[in-house]
Subunit: 478 residues, 2 copies
């Protein structure tokens, strides 16, 4: 039920392609990609320049029309789906898809918000560099969305999240003014950091229109290892030993269980277990050996040998060639899909301090299984980031997944989130809050933090026009 919104002021500042009202063109963008959230909007506004974005936001502010910024529309938490009542318009950044410049010497790329991640990867590679952040949706996710959700991925261990990769930012603020912070200044102490405020703000404080991003040297040589250990504790110990012995070259450090591995092997053809014997937990390690291929290889082998000798590592093997390394990674990348085949499950994107993660995995798994009889807890992922994919699967034989989710989704979520908070962690490690976790953010934030978040939102978007009903649980809605 789209509301009647006068689009003529927007038509006056945008070209013909800039105002999309055809229902067939709009419909795909009214639902999130996982099909969980549905909204409505009378039009998609698609400006082609920063100045046009500023004009659009200025008009929206003047008329009190909310805007929902959209990039690739691959939010995991409904962060880019418009409200159901149709009072908002979608502001698509997809046309702003230029990589304005790449400075290989300075290791910087200046990208507009609509640049698709995979295209930046290609452009960086052509300059003998790389943009060290990747994720499953790289073929659709845009720079603006990645910045606004402070995206993560498997390379965070070494390179940090998007927050660490944004050297400069351009945005249109909720009053239609342009914030130009694109210059990459390594030292800049001129007051509150607007850039960091906009990163991860999910479009609720303004619209990111461009970013200056840090590049890393290309990797010319990597080492991939598969390691079996008894517990996540020994995996974390191994990570510390590798960092101490090899330096900051650990590019990936992913853990999974024997059950997870077996399940992948049962569902995905042509894969085999990298180790000869089973191990309770497995670790996939990737090392950047570009700086010193031989030295790094022998340091890796020595470290693994020492840890095998002292019993901390049960077994370890190095990929002998690129094909074997890819096969190791295929196991990791198949975990999510092959788990789905086991039945309905709740998935949690949570983080705790790295040192507490091994206990969290074991203890919270046991506790949720004891509290909700029949469920299966499992965890895999980025141990070195203090961030695992924590799943709670419905009891065996559950046929009606949505009935189970209706009954147990909320209590199990609250149980897990309470455990996360007790461990000093975050209920959203990577995906953000969006619509999905807004109530939980309200329930679990300290009053001090919640008051600060609300004060910032009201101060910078007093009209409440930027991505309504997302991220901050407003006091007026309580």
């Amino acid at each position: 039920m789209s509301q009647t919104i006068d689009l003529s002021p927007f038509r006056a500042v945008l070209d013909e392609r800039g105002v999309v009202t055809d229902r067939d063109d709009i419909t795909p963008w009214l639902t999130d990609w996982r099909g969980r959230y549905h909204g409505d909007a009378a039009a998609i506004l698609a400006p082609a320049t920063t100045e046009q974005v500023a004009a659009v936001v200025g008009i929206a502010a003047q008329h009190g029309i909310p805007l929902v910024p959209q990039g690739g529309n691959t939010s995991m938490v409904g962060g880019a789906t418009p409200p159901a009542d149709g009072r908002a318009l979608i502001l698509s950044l997809r046309r702003m898809n230029r990589i304005r410049s790449i400075d290989a010497d300075a290791n910087l790329a200046l990208c507009e918000a609509g640049v698709i991640l995979a295209n930046l990867h290609d452009a960086a590679q052509a300059a003998n560099r790389r943009f060290p952040l990747s994720l499953g949706a790289k073929g659709s996710a845009t720079i603006g969305g990645l910045v606004s959700t402070n995206a993560g991925g498997t390379q965070v261990l070494r390179h940090g999240t998007m927050r660490g990769l944004v050297a400069g930012l351009e945005a249109v603020l909720p009053d239609g003014s342009i914030y130009d912070g694109l210059a990459a200044l390594k030292k800049d102490n001129r007051g509150y950091d607007i850039r960091h405020l906009l990163i991860g703000a999910e479009g609720t404080l303004g619209v990111v229109t461009a970013a200056t991003l840090r590049l890393a040297p290309a990797m010319t040589s990597t080492l991939t290892a598969w390691v079996g250990v008894a517990r996540p504790h020994e995996a974390l110990h191994l990570l510390h030993r590798l960092e101490a012995q090899l330096g900051p070259v650990v590019e990936g450090f992913e853990i999974l269980t024997e059950a997870g591995l077996k399940n992948v092997l049962a569902h995905i053809p042509d894969l085999r277990s990298p180790l000869n014997a089973p191990a309770p937990w497995h670790v996939l390690v990737e090392i950047d050996s570009s700086g010193d291929p031989d030295g790094t290889a022998s340091a890796l082998e020595n470290t693994l040998a020492v840890e095998v000798a002292n019993g901390s590592v049960l077994d370890a093997t190095l990929a002998q060639n690129e094909a074997q390394a890819q096969a190791f990674w295929r196991i990791r990348e198949s975990l999510s899909a092959s788990e789905k085949a086991l039945g309905p499950a709740l998935q949690f994107d949570v983080s705790v301090p790295v040192a507490r993660m091994p206990d969290f995995i074991i203890d919270t798994g046991r506790q949720v299984e004891a509290t909700f009889p029949g469920v299966h807890a499992s965890a895999y992922g980025h141990l070195g980031d203090g961030n695992v994919h924590f799943h709670v699967r419905a009891p065996d034989g559950t046929t009606d997944g949505s009935a189970w989710t209706s009954e147990f989704g909320k209590p199990i979520s609250q149980f897990i989130h309470d455990a996360v908070v007790a461990a000093g962690g975050s209920i959203s490690a990577e995906h953000g809050i969006g619509q999905m976790k807004r109530a939980e953010l309200g329930r679990l934030s300290s009053p001090a933090r919640l008051a600060a978040l609300r004060a910032i939102k009201s101060a910078l978007d007093p009209l409440g026009i930027m991505n309504p009903e997302k991220l901050i649980p407003l006091a007026s809605e309580a």
Copy 2:
């Protein structure tokens, strides 16, 4: 002229040492350490715990009494000096001087705000780690002040400013509530980043009470080189080559002029020029070779040889021992003091994008000398950070320095700051805004940025009690 402020509510929540009213004890803290700013305050409040800080701020909010947070009182911009009218109290964090914990495996140290930087250096060293940020005032500067001013130093090139080293933060917000963000979460997407908002806020949004700080591995082996080049452009080229060939191990990269070197040699005994022949510009390079001492040394020698062969480097020499390396650094560290002997000068703490710095140094130097006849422009410092100490010295023979400063201080400052802004730079690279640059921040900020800064200040400190008359030029004062 201290105003009459009822201290009894503060006495009720603090112990005897927590309320200092003896004038002799207060006086040293009413003036900044360079003697440029003078204020007044009826008392210094010195809480011993975070809870006491919260109680003090709560009382201040209730009674509308402004607070000026102080650490080591070594602000370069009058950022910790109370207002002259005595309406504010000083809130000293010096008693909160515990290093609560060091986790060597996780490379984290949890420090209270009053910990002195040099003490953290010692504690980290005892754990076979280092805290990779240092500056001249390390014997007095405190963690709270370093966080609140986003301090820099000579190691920013590799390790970043304080912003990059703060993994978690605890603060008391202006309403007296405690923000507990000490947990070091590598991934945390729960809304606006309060931590980054408080870093560099100069105490105007709340009082930093503790921080979780990142440590780096101890350096077990370093290489120090002295290089002569024709221009800053060739110095920057050399930096890029070193980073490409050696990886991220460049710990220091400082430039100076032949004139600067000669001046040091004239004023400081027992130092000699590292190179046999003069060179227009000099570079002091320090490399961390701990990971691979021999490999890094030969890579450094090869890179320098290639650049000498292609003419980009005029001459280069490696320190042959620790004493020689220290002598190289003594030259760098003596620049400021030996320049002072030449006569009165204006000093600018500015940054521009790294790639633009060579042109900025040359062009702005020429322009200011042309515009203000007789003055001498010079620059030295952290080229790789896009941040140099840019000095403009009074014409030869100027005897009355303060008369010269009175006449030329403002126009020359505005001239330099305008050039910085034109180059996309920052009028405060390291020292912050404090009282000194507040008017210039107002003059040179875009309306969008200024409005955002003011909105944030009013939202989080609606009563205006946190470090009044600092950082943000308020609209009400315009």
